[in-house]
C-alpha cells in the first residue's frame, strides 16, 4: 500500500489497497469482507465526514462508497455525507441540504470536495442492516472493476516532527560522561 493512502488517521480498518469499495458503517453491527479497500464508522457530521472524504480520495482505486445502517440520531451524519456528495457546500461551508445539526466542512477545500464528487459513486444503504444485502452491493460494485481515478489526492498531510526535546534535562544528563574527579569527560553528541 502506498504510504500516501489514508493520511488522516481514524478508527478505520484497511483491507485491499486495490479494492474499489469503501464502506461507511453507521448504526449497524456489520463487518465487511476483506475485499473492500477500507471500512469504518461515521459518527459526526463535520469532522467525521471530512476524514472520510480526505482518506477516500487519497486512494484513487476507491470508486464506490457504501453508506449502510441506521443513521446516527441527532447528527444524521450518514445523510449529511450523502448530501455533501450530491450538493457540495455553500459559502458558509455548510453542507447544502444536510439534515445534521452542524454539518460544516472546514478542513477541506472545494477542490477536494469536487474530487470526492467525481471520483466516488455513493451507494446509499442508509436503513439497510442485513449483512447479505450489504454484501451483495459490495459484490456488484466489485464486479464492475472500475479503473483507478488516477493520482492520489492528498487533502491533508500530517508531517512528523522531531521528537527529541532539547529542554529535557534528563535526556541531556544521560549523555554526559563524568571522570573519577567529577569533571565532565564527554558531553552528549
Amino acid at each position: 500500500m502506498k504510504d500516501e493512502y489514508y493520511p488522516w488517521g481514524g478508527e478505520f480498518t484497511t483491507c485491499s489497497a486495490k479494492g474499489c469499495v469503501a464502506v461507511v458503517i453507521l448504526n449497524v453491527d456489520y463487518t465487511p469482507p476483506d475485499k473492500v479497500a477500507i471500512y469504518g464508522p461515521l459518527k459526526t457530521e463535520n469532522i467525521g465526514i471530512e476524514k472520510i472524504v480526505a482518506n477516500v480520495i487519497s486512494n484513487p482505486n476507491i470508486r464506490y462508497l457504501i453508506v449502510c445502517g441506521d443513521d446516527i440520531r441527532g447528527h444524521r451524519s450518514g445523510s449529511s455525507l450523502v448530501a455533501l456528495h450530491k450538493n457540495g457546500i455553500d459559502e458558509q461551508h455548510r453542507i447544502i441540504d444536510a439534515p445534521g445539526a452542524i454539518p460544516f466542512i472546514e478542513n477541506l477545500n472545494n477542490e477536494a470536495i469536487d474530487r470526492f464528487q467525481k471520483q466516488i459513486e455513493i451507494a446509499n444503504l442508509i436503513d439497510v442492516k442485513k449483512r447479505e444485502d450489504i454484501d451483495k452491493i459490495i459484490d456488484d460494485c466489485n464486479a464492475k472493476s472500475p479503473p483507478s481515478f488516477g493520482e492520489p489526492y492528498i487533502a491533508i498531510r500530517i508531517t512528523p516532527t522531531a521528537t527529541t526535546l532539547l529542554d529535557d534535562k534528563r535526556a541531556l544528563h544521560s549523555k554526559i560522561v563524568m571522570n573519577y574527579m567529577g569533571k565532565i569527560k564527554k558531553r552528549g553528541e
Binding site: 488517521g9 481514524g10 478508527e11 463535520n46 460544516f104 472546514e106 478542513n107 526535546l165
Partner: protein
C-alpha cells in the same frame, strides 16, 4: 489548642450541561490498535453565529502512554482551561487502558 484550620472540600462533579467549552479548542482522542498508539487531534474552534460548529485541525500528537501525551499536550498546546487539561488526563488514561487491554475506547464527555 488549634494553630491552623484547613478546609476539607468534598468532591462534586460538574454536570455536563454546566461545562464551559474551552475557547482554545477541543481534542479528538482515538486508539489505533494497528499502530499500537493513541492519537490525539487538536482542533481550534470554528464559530458560526457565536456557536462552535466544528474545528480546524491544528496538531496531531501520538504516543502509547497517557503521561507522555499529557506532558506533550501541556508543552505544545498551552493555555487551555485547567479543567480541560484534567479532562484530557482522565481520557488519556482511559485510552491507555483500552490500548493495553485491547478493549474498545470511546471518548467520553467532560
Amino acid at each position: 489548642m488549634v494553630d491552623k484550620e484547613v478546609p476539607l472540600i468534598k468532591a462534586k462533579k460538574i454536570p455536563q450541561k454546566d461545562v464551559i467549552l474551552d475557547p482554545k479548542g477541543f481534542f479528538v482522542i482515538e486508539v489505533d490498535k494497528k499502530q499500537s498508539e493513541i492519537r490525539v487531534e487538536y482542533y481550534s474552534n470554528v464559530y458560526k453565529n457565536k456557536r462552535i460548529v466544528s474545528g480546524i485541525l491544528e496538531k496531531v500528537l501520538s504516543g502509547s502512554k497517557a503521561d507522555a501525551l499529557c506532558d506533550t499536550i501541556v508543552k505544545h498546546v498551552p493555555d487551555l482551561l485547567p479543567a480541560h487539561y484534567m479532562y484530557l488526563g482522565r481520557e488519556l488514561q482511559n485510552a491507555q487502558c483500552a490500548l493495553e487491554k485491547n478493549t474498545k475506547y470511546v471518548q467520553g464527555g467532560c
